[in-house]
Symmetry: C4
Subunit: 201 residues, 4 copies
């Protein structure tokens, strides 16, 4: 069935459902992480202590997913139409993001080399998937489109990928250093953009 | 990528996806709390008894989240456009609300000082986040906008914050008093509005 | 904040977000029930056997929720505008429906008087909430509206409520009879409508 | 209430809510599977090993659900209007898809005849449900509609059903062979369509 639709009406696919589906998946991922926050075993302040590292991992992942939702929102604002490849590039991104809750919970439970490296691997996968999604969109819209001008050179995206790779390696030496790099990436995306761009140029 | 989009087309961001995403997250939070309602261990009426306090916490949180969804709905009815700051202020609100299920479950399991105070802290965080969101929207729309007239002095919002602070302190003395204040806030928001406003003035 | 919005723009609230939120909650409830289907303990056919009653409860609840989604969809097709009361009547309906997964799991785990009666109570609550929602909508649209003509006398809704009450009482005598009544209600809603209407008149 | 609405305004039901609800359910199913990925018990690479088969099942199901979402998206792109039968045919499809997470988890936990055959049964159920949905849509739109031309002979859909039946039988002899057939179906749907069509003709 996909056969002829793809052939005839490829460019007419509406972006609305892609946005709605992505919003749905992101909303669920972001909320599902809460399920990993176990109810403390007891009604004392001490009972809260083992929850703290899990909570901090949760906050970190919440902001990461928030950044992705934000960027996805901005990106598709400039998108005109989508095709089958873009649908799959988007699903690929959602796949990596859907692994965030498990990685978050593992890092929160065991702050050691493998869990921290795994967390970075998921972030790296998501960053690469986002990069591929942007390329698929650009290939579909052309180099002169509003989208192409809006995306620009995507400096932050490239820096993030490099920092994740460094962090994954560092995780086997000092997990704390790896985690600091994750936080650095978060801050880079949150800080008002122009100042960073000026610093970089 | 966000860089130039934010610079050039800041005001054109559609509020539609923000609403859809918020609806998604709120729908999930409200439903996820049900997962905390464990299946009773046995087929007797007695088996239902330990479920009762968890159930009552669930009802309370359901109404709280319902009020937030209601107010969010009313608020964005008057909103014209959004920007990056507003997206983040909204995510900040969703962050606090996403902690409701855990806090609800903890209070339902152990009706004691710390869980009850923690529940109030989450409510306080959400109330402050809502306050910040409203300020961000007002800053973007101007003092003469329909939004500004609709928001008014936001008496209920301010009273809620004060009551939460009092409740958190009371929780360490008598948890029941703290919980009564939470119920009082709920009633304040549910009761038809004009009567309360008259009482207050 | 709700104060003045409700006063000035009561009739202008869009039904779009109410539909989207209800769809979200229903989609989550219907899917969350799957979480109660535990992975069988072993790779044999026998391992599937204890899952069977849980599965049948799941199928029953799936159809019930499907009927509610279907009716909600048809109902709001004829709705023009909503107000604060309708938002809350709708949340009240979602509240009862959100309890379906727990009730389903309890009935699936222990097919006895209390769980079966509890399941009927949840269904009864949902049916009454739906009835209230319809009244709130009628009060807002007037007796001459398309909505009023579409709703008609709502025979099925009234019969359902009666059957639930009977079933809850029967559950304490013979749970199987109660369950048969639940199935009867499902069939009544699924069978093409005109034939039933003729039978009834 | 459905009575008269179905009679008078049958063709006017909007497809928007059906799409939104389906997107919601699919988004939740796809994300809920992640909950089956348990946090590894320990911070070593070895702790990851028992997670690998579960993870691979997850990837397989993720792609299957992605294909369904994709095809659903393409299919409804050509749909003009829906009726009560189509709503139920769609819910029937969602029912089978909602069973994917449990089947995935069982197959991931015990790679043996029954779990693998059960996984195939769920896929078969979903494929048949999709087939029925397409027929219901065709019956509503007529043989000369854009939809009818877009669907064509639905070769892939028919082949999939045959392969699933073969796989379910094979599962009792060699589960690996069954699983290879599932992967073959996935590849058939992912590979660019025209080439496959040429091969088949």
């Amino acid at each position: 069935m996909k056969l002829k639709l793809l052939g005839e009406a490829e460019d007419e696919l509406s972006k609305g459902r892609l946005e709605a589906f992505s919003d749905g998946v992101l909303a669920i991922i972001i909320t599902i992480m809460v399920l990993e926050l176990k109810v403390p075993a007891g009604a004392t302040f001490e009972a809260l202590r083992p929850v703290v590292p899990v909570f901090l991992s949760y906050v970190l992942s919440f902001i990461f997913l928030g950044i992705y939702w934000n960027n996805h929102h901005h990106l598709f604002q400039a998108v005109q139409h989508v095709n089958g490849k873009i649908l799959w590039a988007n699903l690929h991104l959602l796949f990596w993001l859907s692994l965030t809750p498990v990685a978050t919970a593992w890092m929160g439970a065991d702050f050691n080399s493998w869990p921290v490296a795994m967390y970075g691997t998921i972030l790296l996968g998501a960053a690469c998937a986002y990069f591929i999604l942007v390329r698929a969109l650009l290939a579909h819209h052309g180099r002169e489109s509003t989208l192409a001008r809006a995306v620009g050179r995507d400096v932050k995206g490239r820096i993030s990928i490099v920092l994740y790779v460094v962090a994954i390696i560092l995780a086997f030496w000092r997990p704390v250093f790896a985690c600091s790099l994750y936080v650095a990436v978060v801050i880079m995306w949150l800080v008002p953009d122009r100042r960073i761009e000026k610093i970089l140029e």
